[in-house]
Structures are given as C-alpha cells and as structure tokens.
Amino acid sequence: MEPLKPARRKVKKDNRNTTGYLFISPFLLGFFTLTIFPILYSLYLSFTDYDLMGTPSWIGLDNYVRMFTDDPTFWKSMKVTFFYAGIAVPIRLVFALLVAMALNKIVEMVGLYRTLLYLPSVVGGSIAVSIMWRQLFGNDGAVNSILGALGLPTHSWLGDPDTAIWTLIVLYGWQFGSSMLIFLAGLRNIPKTYYEASSVDGAGPVKQFFIITIPLLTPVILFNTIMQVIQGFMAFTPSFVVTNGGPVNSTLLYVLYMYQRAFEYFDMGYASAMAWVMLVIIAIFTALIFKSSPHWVHYESDTK
C-alpha cells in the first residue's frame, strides 16, 4: 500500500514532464554546457593561478588581493571605465530620445530615416566602424582635414591622452540606434488624446514633454538605462581597435585590460577574478537602478 502511492504519482509526473523536458532539452543542453558550466568554471579559475597552458593551481583569494592592493593598472582601468560609462551612457540616451522624438513627428518616409539612423548600430560593435573611427580621428584623418579647411586648429585626437577617451565616447553616443527604436516604440504608445487634451488646457510643447512624454516614457527609460549601463561597462571593441588602450592607458577600458591579462600576459586566473568583480559591479548598479525605479518610473496600470 505504501509503495503504490508514490509509484503512481511518479508515473503520472513522468508522463507529462518528460515530453516537456525533451522539447526544451536543446535549450537546457546549451544552457548547462555553454552558460552555467563556463560561469562556474571561471569562478573556480578566479581562485587559481592559471596561465592557459598548464593546469590551474589553487591560490585562494590571492588574485583578488593583488587586484585591490597591488595593481595600479586595475584601478586605472576601473577609473577609465566609470568615466566612459558615466558620460557616454547619458549622452547616448539623451541623443536617442531626441532623435526618436524627431522621428515621431516625421510622417513621410519615416522608414527611410529610421533605417538610416539605425545603421550605425547595425554595424555597431563591429571592427569596421572602429577602424573607420581610427581613420576619422587620425592625425591626417577627416576630422582634422575639415578643421584645417575651416581654418581651425587641428589636434592629435587619438594621440593626446586627454582627448582619446572622448573620441570613444562620441563613438558610443553615435551608435544610438537600438535605444532610439525602443524610445520610438514607447513614444508611439502614448495616446494622442493626452496631447490634444492638454493643448486644449493650454499646455505648450515643452510642458507637454515634461508632464506627458517623460512620465509615460519612464518604463522605457528604465529599460534603456539598464541595458546601456551594462553595455557601457562591458565595452571592448572601441578601445581595442581604435586606441588599443593608449595613449598611456587613457582609454584602457576594464574589459580590454581583462583581455590583456588573459591573453597577452597569460594570466587567466586573474582575468577570471576581474570578470567576477565586474559582474558584482554591474549587479550593484542594476540593483540600484531597480531600487530607485519606484520613485520615478510610472506605469499606466498603476493605481495610485
């Protein structure tokens, strides 16, 4: 009597679940072998000294200790990354929103404009755009040629430690396409009647922007902000291709330094530890943004 009950239940469970598991097994396989396993393995590696070629040897917290106490380059790259993300992300978001609003007004050929403005992001993270950037801001590049033609002083944009990071920030801001599309979708969802009603009450476009557009767009702003902050912290290609971290490490983004440690100095254990520190930082930022969201994000369905 006793064994009968669990057995029956088991059969029943198998019957339903197995089919389900079978259907999702491709995802599960990929998830476990390509996501979970590498994540856990890198956590393990972060506690080891591993030069990629030998076998990892356990050194406990040494990598973390070294990172925080004995590696000025680590702090430098951290500083560069915070500066970069802190400036480039707002620039991109503001830019994306402005362009989205402009596009929202255009009636004719909106598809064409949307495509044109989205293009930089399609080729976005790509090497090609970064190489183009290198040419544009090079000493003999287009930017200097234009400045020269206008009789303005030229500048070694990429060679000057003070300006090199700005070229990367501009590059990041320029690739605003995907945020722009999301903003555009959000703008389209705001009922026209709100604007009509408010203009009857005498509100001008600026007032409408602050009392209707922004509040109703806050969920989209929240989403875009989180996505862009994560992207900003993880930026790699621009500094790798355009400046390779130079001059004098002024554009050494965190992930680029991590790459250097892993593959140029064969210091995979340390690089893994760096990856986990970045994970924690991104998690903290995401959590902070989420925590703050009840204060400024409004959902229409909210009943207040």
Partner: protein
C-alpha cells in the same frame, strides 16, 4: 512510451556530451583525422604571423611543398603579429596547437618550453630527417632550451639602423658607418632636422632598443635566472629616456601622438622621407624598401662605442612542432623542406631572415635582389661584430616589456621625468617578476 522518451532524452544528453569531449580530442590531434585521411593524405595545420607579402609568399611555398609531397596537405592559418600569440594561447589552452607553428625567440619560446608544449626535434636532426648540415652551432643553439631542440630557426636576423642616404646628403649630414656613437646619432639627427625641417629620427621603441642600449653598456635586461632586472643602476634607463625625450622635446623626433598613427611598415616615417633613421629588424628591409619606392635606404649597425657588445644575431623566427601533433614526421618534413629547398628562398627572399644554411646562401648569392644582397651583407657584418644573444627571458617578460612601453609613453608625454620613469619601471618589473 514514457520510458522510451526518457531513454531518448538520456541518449541525447550522452551523445551531446560525448560529441563535445570528442571534438576536443579530435582537434587536439591537429584536426587531421576528420578531413585528411582520404587517400592516405595527411592534413597538417600550420600557423604564422606576418605581412600580406609574407602570407602570399608562404602560401606559394606551401603549394610547392604539396606538389613535392602529394601525401601531405597543409591548412594554413595566419594573422598579423598583433593577436597571433593571443590566438595561440587560446589554442594551447584547448590542447589544440597547430602541427607546425611559427614561434618567436625569447619570452614566447621560453613560455612554450616551460609548459612542454613543443616537441623535441633532436632525434629528427640526428636521424637526418631535418638536414641542418653546415648550420652554425650558435644558430642552432638559439632554438634550444634546457637541452631540447624546440625550434629550427627560419633564418638569421639582427637589429639594424636603416638610414635614408638621400635625406642625409640633402642635409649635408655625415653618412653613418658601423663605428658611429650615440653622440653621432644625435648630432646627425639634429642636423637633418635643422636643415630639412623634417624629423631627424624616428622615436626609438623601447621593446628591443632599450635591451640593445643596455647590452651596449655591458648589462642585460634580465639577470641570469630571469628573476630580476639585469642592471642595478636606474640611471641607465634614465639616460636612455633622456636621450629620446630631448629629441622629442626639440622636435627632432616625433612623439607618441605621431608614432601611434603608424599602423604598419608601409606608414613608417622613413618610408615617406619624413625621418632619415629607423631602427628595426633587418628582415623588414624588403617590406620597407618596397614601400619606400626610389628612396635610397641603407643599413648599418646600431650606434654606440661598444656596439659589437650590443649587437647580436637572432633567429628571425623558429619553426616548431607542437607536442600534441599526431603527425610529427610529416611536420618535420615541411621544416626540412623549408630549410633546404632553394625554391623557398627564391619565393620568400630574406623575409624570414637570412637562410641559416651556408650552401643555400651560396646558391642564392648570384641572383639576389638588391635589397636581399644588402641584408645578406649586413648579416655578414653583424656576424663579425656581435655577441651572443641573451636567452634568459622569463615567461613574464612580455608583461615586463609592456610595462617598459607604458613607462616610456609616460616619460615621452612628459608625465614622468626620466628618473621617475626609470624608478617606476624597476618597481613594476620587480613586482611582476617576484609575483
């Protein structure tokens, strides 16, 4: 029914997992089993770094080799130098190194040797499968580490001072010969700058040139067992920095803002007649001269009163066979072909250095291109005026050299004084080497 579903799920898992691990092993064998076995043909993977002209030449060489060895097919993988060793490191981690690998002397060879990733080629040389008759011992020695022969040099190389005679003559400056000193170098550079308004020299890159500078003064970059720097007086590095910094400050040499725009040999200042001097490796003569067009480039020893102490011959590159290769015999056949077949050098010239075999050099002597002839003569000159190469580079040396480059940039940008830079470099190097 349910059971069969469960079974098939389990089976799918097992198959998937075994496929994963299986592919690891298969590729560890040089990817040769999956594609190469038809008609008893063996496929070898081969990697190198280089310029476009080297890629083209090497593929032509491979074609020649495959014609003579129809049982071997070579899969070529190549990139520029940037990224090459990063890629190799990832392959080494996956136990997936190519059968034949272009290897670099110094920190890289030592790193791979340290991990036992390269096959010992001694037996193949002893059995004559790699014919190195008439190759000098010092040249063969450079491929050895702890008694194992881990690479066959592709050719001989040396640092050289390229100079543009036209520019020097135009400025009325003295044409350097092998007896010139650092003072001569600075004086000539200044004179060219004053007379022509162009740069008088290219900024020296610290990676190879500081080591030469030390050697010329009787020191080494690393100590005997590679656990510390090989010099105690920071003034040496401070002097080196000062030498360069003054040239930069006076506009005689370009700063890093100009140097960083150079993305290949073709962009070099000397190629465009914008600086008369450029210190670099002799095997780049062909690439440099062909880019320079009809500008007249010559080469001589680097400056310094004791430059015979400072100069050294270096294997331009090495051919190594990876320890995990399943086809060492076939890989060795390619290396033998590369070393002994005159066709190789007719195609490649001195791009991988001057041939290590005397009879190849002799056979080539008659129909050398003008540039190759200069390179051959130059290597001859260095052979008579040089000291043995230092092979005491620790595995961490690529990081130490990167630190040197970083400090050099800081000094040239004026963020550190030469003395501060020298002290900071020692601090960084010691911290890296004692870690």
């Amino acid at each position: 029914m349910k059971k069969s579903l469960l079974w098939s799920l389990a089976l799918a898992f097992v198959l998937f997992l075994s496929a994963c691990s299986g592919s690891d092993e298969a590729s560890g064998e040089g990817g040769s089993d999956d594609s190469g076995e038809d008609g008893d043909q063996v496929t070898l993977r081969m990697t190198w770094w280089g310029s476009q002209s080297r890629h083209d030449q090497t593929q032509e060489i491979i074609k020649k080799f495959e014609e003579e060895n129809p049982d071997i097919k070579i899969d070529a993988e190549f990139t520029g130098f940037d990224g090459y060793f990063e890629k190799m490191a990832a392959q080494a981690a996956g136990n997936n190194l190519p059968d034949i690998m272009q290897q670099n002397f110094g920190e890289y060879l030592n790193q791979y040797a340290d991990k036992g990733l390269l096959a010992d080629l001694t037996e193949y040389v002893e059995s004559g499968q790699i014919n190195v008759e008439g190759v000098s011992d010092t040249v063969m020695e450079s491929g050895k580490k702890e008694g194992k022969l881990l690479g066959i040099p592709t050719g001989t190389n040396a640092l050289t001072a390229f100079y543009n005679t036209d520019m020097l003559e135009e400025a009325g400056a003295e044409i350097p010969d092998e007896n010139w000193t650092w003072d001569d170098y600075v004086a000539t550079a200044r004179k060219v700058h004053e007379e022509t308004g162009e740069f008088g020299a290219r900024l020296m890159e610290p990676k190879n040139l500081f080591e030469y500078y030390l050697r010329e003064k009787g020191y080494k970059l690393f100590n005997e067992d590679g656990t510390d720097l090989g010099y105690n007086d920071d003034q040496l590095l401070a002097d080196y920095f000062t030498l360069n910094k003054q040239l930069v400050d006076d506009g005689v040499a370009p700063g890093y803002d100009t140097i960083q725009q150079i993305k290949g040999v073709e962009d070099e200042l000397i190629v465009h007649g914008k600086a008369p001097f450029d210190f670099r490796w002799s095997n780049q003569a062909t690439a440099l001269t062909s880019a320079a067009g009809d500008r007249n480039l010559e080469m001589t020893l680097l400056p310094g009163a004791n430059n015979t102490e400072g100069m050294y011959l270096k294997p331009a590159m090495l051919w190594s066979v990876s320890e995990n290769s399943e086809h060492k015999e076939e890989a060795v056949r390619f290396i033998d072909f590369f070393t002994n077949n005159i066709e190789v050098y007719k195609i490649g010239g001195s791009d991988r250095g001057v041939p290590i075999k005397e009879d190849i050099r002799n056979q080539m002597a008659d129909d050398l291109s003008e540039t190759d002839k200069k390179v051959f003569d130059y290597i001859e000159l260095v052979t008579e005026n040089s000291s043995p190469i230092d092979s005491n580079f620790p595995p961490e040396s690529s990081e130490v050299l990167a630190a040197l480059e970083e400090v050099d940039e800081l000094v040239m940008y004026g963020e550190l004084s030469p003395e501060e830079g020298a002290a900071q470099f020692r601090e960084k190097a010691t911290s890296i080497l004692t870690r």
